[in-house]
Amino acid sequence: MTVEAGEGLLPIVANDDVVRARQLVRTLAQDCRLSLVEQTKLVTAASELARNTLVHGGGGTLRGELIRNGLRRGVQVVFRDSGPGIADLELALTDGWSSGTGMGLGLSGSRRLVDEFAIESEPGRGTTVTITKWAR
């Protein structure tokens, strides 16, 4: 898997940054020629995860990249925060479970919206979520 183009690092520290995150991911998705449905799914997942980074992680960063694996092109977005981390990943990925006042579908829903979903978290050390969407 190779990186074709990086879109740099976007800090996520305020509500406006969630909007910026969506715009950045949408631009990447368009550059990668994802279909409209795939674009919307990826942007929505990015919106959820960026908000998680902000609300639960206390702010962090987003890195978006165009990647290539053989002939397939895709978009990879990494959300990183150094917040409190997630103690029980399985519980956090359960539909309807929320530590806040949300619907509890953000994390579990985003996993269904993308092709690849990886989450690393350690209590007290923060959380890193990597999502990938491949062009069909």
Partner: protein
């Protein structure tokens, strides 16, 4: 830093050729701004700044954050705000401060004495601080501008339109955050009362992505309308939005949703007992 001797030299340097130095300063700044601000304006701004700076230096202080520099900072704030509003870049704003160094160069050449060099360096670091202050103020002014614009947009982008007797519509465009939802909800609920409507249509054709937060806001608005005895239909659910909502696992329950505003209007009219058909159809019945 506040060595009285050096401070003295600095003031001497600045006051000896005050006229030449400020004139040169004005010249450099006007060249950079290329006539977008009149020279007279720059002249006035910079001369005021120059005398304020000199007055501050006479107190023996060299720290930009000191009380002595309060007037200098006030003038710089004014300058940055004006530049930000006129659409200048941060560099074009900061150059107003940094150009003084350039203006000082010839004066320094005249006097190759080490003392001047030292005081020049001190002044230089003071000007750097003031330059940074300018950029910060500039950025703050721009942010204020942007946030006031987004507030204006908030007001602009949420009209409530009456589609029919008893049917109102709220077309949503753009990002739906908590602040906007509040405005939308308030406006819609008020319009329901004002127009005596029992049907409300929330059209999300202009909302690019529906995530859980947007969905939650929509659901709350619908529930609030229901509490007032009104019925809500959400329209503008495009194929990509529908698929995303399903994948996310959001349940809209028994809330009526439609693909287009036309469908939603027909639904709302039917719910209020109005049947629409072609003229011919009615005769046939």
């Amino acid at each position: 830093m506040a060595d009285p001797d050096n401070s003295r030299q600095l003031i001497d340097l600045l006051s000896a050729d005050a006229e030449d130095l400020s004139a040169e300063w004005v010249r450099i700044v006007s060249t950079t701004l290329r006539g977008r601000v009149s020279t007279a304006e720059i002249d006035q701004e910079l001369r005021e700044l120059y005398s304020a700076l000199l007055a501050a230096l006479r107190t023996g202080s060299l720290a930009a954050k000191d009380d002595a520099f309060a007037e200098v900072r006030a003038l710089l704030t004014e300058l940055s705000r004006t530049r930000a509003r006129q659409g200048f870049t941060p560099s074009e704003t900061a150059i107003s401060v940094f150009a003084l160094k350039q203006a000082l160069e010839p004066a320094l050449a005249k006097d190759p004495d080490g003392g001047s060099l030292r005081s020049y360096l001190q002044l230089s670091s003071l000007l750097d601080d003031l330059g940074l202050f300018t950029v910060e103020t500039y950025a703050r002014a721009r942010e204020e501008l942007i946030s006031s614009q987004s507030e204006q947009l908030l007001e602009l982008s949420t009209p409530v339109v009456k589609l029919w007797d008893g049917v109102i519509c709220v077309p949503l465009v753009g990002t739906l955050d908590s602040a906007r939802t509040m405005v939308v909800m308030e406006k819609m609920l008020q319009a329901l009362i004002d127009t005596g409507s029992e049907q409300a249509i929330i059209d999300i054709t202009g909302v690019p992505a529906v995530d859980t937060q947007v969905a939650q806001h929509l659901l709350k608005t619908v529930v609030a309308a229901r509490l007032m005895g009104a019925e809500c239909t959400i329209s503008g659910i495009r194929p990509q939005i529908a698929q995303t909502i399903v994948a996310l696992g959001i349940d809209f329950g028994d809330i009526a949703t439609k693909a287009s505003l036309a469908d939603a209007l027909r639904h709302a009219l039917r719910r209020s007992g109005i049947e629409i058909g072609r003229r011919g159809d009615r005769v046939a019945k």
